[in-house]
Each structure stands twice: as structure tokens, then as C-alpha cells.
């Protein structure tokens, strides 16, 4: 599994990091919650502690706002790193419940929202019923990409 992670992200890019913490200083999640933060994440990955990162629930405490990457003076693709780490975490079962439920819904219905009494609500705004999602197609695609290795649907 750990080998796989670095197939998704060029590990050598991390050696550009000199731990200036401009990323972490800009992180909105760290202002309000117990997040891991980009600087510490990168440091642990450099020190071969990425197993620890992937198993840490704080990895998910993030706004996905991309400010860390935007501010990085070394132009490290931090968001790509965070996506690779979280994909790896999810494969190991480290995934927030809320996110797991959201993805089950997406895979089952092709939408991110629960549809309830929608036609009436849309009619209130003078709108026609919503076109149905080509759900069979969606499910076939998600089976071929092996989403069910991570999330059952």
C-alpha cells in the first residue's frame, strides 16, 4: 500500500520543502480545528512517517481550499499530495463516516443530494422536473474504476 501511494505523487517533490510553514500559517482548518496541517504532513512524509499520516484521522480536517499550495514559495503540489494521502487512507479504512455515507449516496443515485419531494419544490420556482441521471452508466463506470474496493455500493 505504501509503495502505491508514491505512484500517485512524485515523492521527490517533497524535498523542495524547507518547512517555512507558510502553508500551515494560511490554513483555515488549523485556525478552527485540530488539523494536521500541510507543513507537518510533509515533514512526516519526508521522515518516512507517512504510514502514521495515512492512519491519522486529522488528515481529513481540511477545507480543500488549496490556499496551502497557492502560497507555497517552493511550488510543491500540496493538494495533489493531500489527495494521494487521503486516497491511501480511505483504502485502509481511515475515512470519516459522513464522507463514506456521501459517497455511497453518490454511487447509488449518481447525485450528491437526497432527492425528496423535488418536483413540487421545483414547480414552486416554475421549473420542470429534473432530468434523471443515467444511473446504470454511472454505476458501470464506477465498477470499472474499482470504487467498490474502497466503498461498497
Amino acid at each position: 500500500m505504501t509503495v502505491k501511494l508514491w505512484n500517485f505523487f512524485p515523492r521527490e517533490a517533497l524535498y523542495e520543502c524547507y518547512q517555512c510553514a507558510r502553508c500551515t500559517g494560511s490554513c483555515p482548518a488549523l485556525e478552527v480545528a485540530e488539523a494536521l496541517g500541510p507543513r507537518e504532513t510533509i515533514l512526516k512524509c519526508l521522515n518516512l512517517g507517512h504510514d502514521e499520516v495515512v492512519e491519522d484521522e486529522r488528515l481529513w480536517v481540511c477545507c480543500t481550499c488549496n490556499v496551502c499550495e497557492d502560497r507555497c514559495p517552493q511550488k510543491i503540489p500540496i493538494s495533489d499530495l493531500l489527495v494521494a494521502l487521503r486516497n491511501s487512507a480511505a483504502r485502509r479504512g481511515n475515512i470519516p463516516d459522513k464522507l463514506q455515507i456521501a459517497i455511497e449516496l453518490l454511487a447509488k443515485t449518481g447525485r450528491s443530494m437526497i432527492v425528496h419531494q423535488l418536483d413540487e419544490m421545483r414547480a414552486h420556482h416554475g421549473l420542470a422536473p429534473l432530468m434523471p441521471v443515467p444511473i446504470d452508466e454511472v454505476r458501470e463506470v464506477l465498477k470499472k474504476t474499482k470504487l467498490d474496493d474502497v466503498i461498497e455500493f
Partner: protein
């Protein structure tokens, strides 16, 4: 000169707008009709979000995005999105697949059983960028029937413009960053007073609330609203349904804890454009907002 040929888009509604906030959709359709922008409906699936599926399974995220891109491509139309999340996913997926032969081949092997083949022939855009085009602004000035004189704050939403190298590669600053201004400019055209405030580009906190900690997400809302109140801003304009919900519902949740705070109405961009064209608050769907804008609009003569 107004060019009719280019003003036709495949309308990518996403999930949150047609299901949670159909009023934004109604306002957008009315505004586009008046401005001569033709919208074509198609059976799209979820984009899927950069905040959920991408974080859990990147390949599934890219393949599902490619499926949506194929559908617009097969109709020969550029994709128009109304949500920062949708535009982020679809622009990045389009960029990635256009750039990488190997990823394109891999995705096409997945899509071939469904009789789709991604070629990379269309562009993805957002309603703000479409409205900001010179020809559309010229038409808007002709269609406008009233100004909306109030102090407005703009919140762009992170996924609308970050990462800049993918979202706005041709408009980067010297430091390869991008500071969005189009919403401020557009709102000044309809007689509003766009007002700067501290931490304007701070995230709304929605993904943090959705994936990890709702209270932490709302703590960000509280901070932003504090800065907005400091500048005596009357209302906030957004271009993303998730940002909208975070500020609209967030203020209701925060008002239970912090009773003394006045609430600031939140508008989706096309609702404000619609009002300036003489549409009623109900026509642009304002009746279902949690933070009511009735008093504010009455103070500028709209009822």
C-alpha cells in the same frame, strides 16, 4: 457586436442547485433568456465533487467527470456550470485529460463499454465568466431596469479559482497567483457598491463542515461575518450553492449561540442580476432563503 453562435451552452446544473436551491436555477434561466444565452439541458450525473469523491478515489472521480464531459462534447457544446465545486472538477478533469495521453487512454478504456469516447474538444466555464463577457455586459446594460444601491461583499469560493494554474492559466499574476475581480465589477455595473473586507478570500468552511466538523466550519463563517460587519456591508454575493448554504444556514445556527448578531442576507449572483432586470424577489427564488432580504430590498424600493 453580439455574436449569437457562441452563446449556447450545455447547462451543468450539478446537484445542490437543482435539488436544494432551485431558485438559483430559476433566476439563472430567466437571466440567460433575457441576455440571449441559450441553455441546453442534458442528463448529467454528479460532477463529482472535489471535496468528496476526489479525496476518496481519484480514478473514479476522473472517470465520472469524463463521462459528463463526453455528454457535452457529443452535443458539440461547451459546458456551463453554476457551482464552484462543479467548475473545479470539470475544468481540472478536462485539463488533465487534454494534457495526458496516457490518462486519456486509460479513461477511454473505461468509457468505451458505455459507447463514450473523450476527445478533448470542449471548454468548461462558470456563469460568472459567461456574464462577464463584453457582449453579454453590453446586453445586460440594455436589459437593466433598476440599480441596486447597496454595499455588497463578494465571496468567490475557493474552488472557483484555485488552483489558479488550472482554473485561470491565462490570467496569472507574476507570482502565478490569481485574484478574482469579475463579480465585483459585474455588481458595480448593476449599481451596487462592491466593498472590500478583511479575509475576503478565506474559505467559507463548507467542506470542513461536511467532511469533518460542522462547528469548526461555522467558526469560519463567524470570522468572515465579523469582517463583513466591520465594513457595514449590507449583503453578500456568492457564486456557489455550498458557500451559500454555509453562510445562510450557518447564520441561523450561529444565531442560536450568539443571539446579539444581526444577520446579513446572502444572494446568488444571478438573483441580483435578475432583480436589476426588474424580476421580482419571488421570481428569482428569494422566498426560500433562511436569512430574509425583504427589509433590505424594501429599503431600495424592491418588493
Amino acid at each position: 457586436m453580439y455574436c449569437k453562435d457562441t452563446m449556447k451552452y450545455a447547462l451543468f446544473l450539478g446537484c445542490a442547485i437543482p435539488i436544494k436551491y432551485p431558485g438559483f436555477e430559476a433566476a439563472t434561466r430567466r437571466v440567460c433568456e433575457r441576455l440571449g444565452i441559450e441553455l441546453v439541458d442534458m442528463p448529467f450525473a454528479c460532477c463529482p465533487p472535489p471535496t468528496s469523491l476526489k479525496m476518496v478515489h481519484h480514478d473514479s472521480w476522473l472517470a465520472l467527470a469524463a463521462l459528463n464531459l463526453c455528454r457535452a462534447e457529443e452535443a458539440g457544446l461547451d459546458l456551463l456550470t453554476l457551482c464552484s465545486g462543479c467548475v473545479n472538477t470539470l475544468k481540472e478533469a478536462n485539463h488533465t485529460l487534454k494534457k495526458s495521453d496516457s490518462k486519456r487512454r486509460k479513461i477511454n478504456r473505461i468509457l468505451e463499454d458505455q459507447n463514450h469516447h473523450y476527445k478533448g474538444t470542449i471548454e468548461v466555464t462558470h456563469i460568472l465568466d459567461v456574464l462577464y463577457q463584453d457582449s453579454v455586459v453590453e446586453k445586460l446594460i440594455k436589459e437593466m431596469s433598476l440599480e441596486l444601491p447597496m454595499k455588497i461583499g463578494c465571496h468567490y469560493g475557493c474552488h472557483y479559482f484555485r488552483p489558479p494554474k488550472i482554473m485561470y492559466p491565462d490570467e496569472l499574476s507574476d507570482s502565478e497567483s490569481y485574484v478574482p475581480v469579475k463579480m465585483d465589477h459585474l455588481l458595480s455595473i448593476i449599481g451596487m457598491e462592491p466593498t472590500e473586507y478583511s479575509r475576503k478570500f478565506l474559505c467559507c468552511g463548507s467542506p470542513l463542515g461536511a467532511n469533518a466538523d460542522q462547528d469548526a466550519g461555522y467558526a469560519i463563517v463567524k470570522e468572515k461575518l465579523g469582517h463583513i460587519r466591520e465594513r457595514h456591508i449590507d449583503a453578500l454575493s456568492v457564486i456557489c450553492p455550498s458557500c451559500f448554504e454555509q453562510f445562510d444556514m450557518g447564520q441561523i445556527a450561529l444565531s442560536r449561540k450568539f443571539k446579539d448578531q444581526s444577520k446579513i442576507p446572502i444572494f446568488y449572483l444571478t438573483q441580483l442580476v435578475g432583480l436589476s432586470m426588474g424580476m421580482t424577489p419571488k421570481e428569482v427564488g428569494l422566498d426560500v432563503h433562511r436569512v430574509k432580504s425583504k427589509k433590505l430590498l424594501e429599503s431600495i424600493g424592491i418588493s
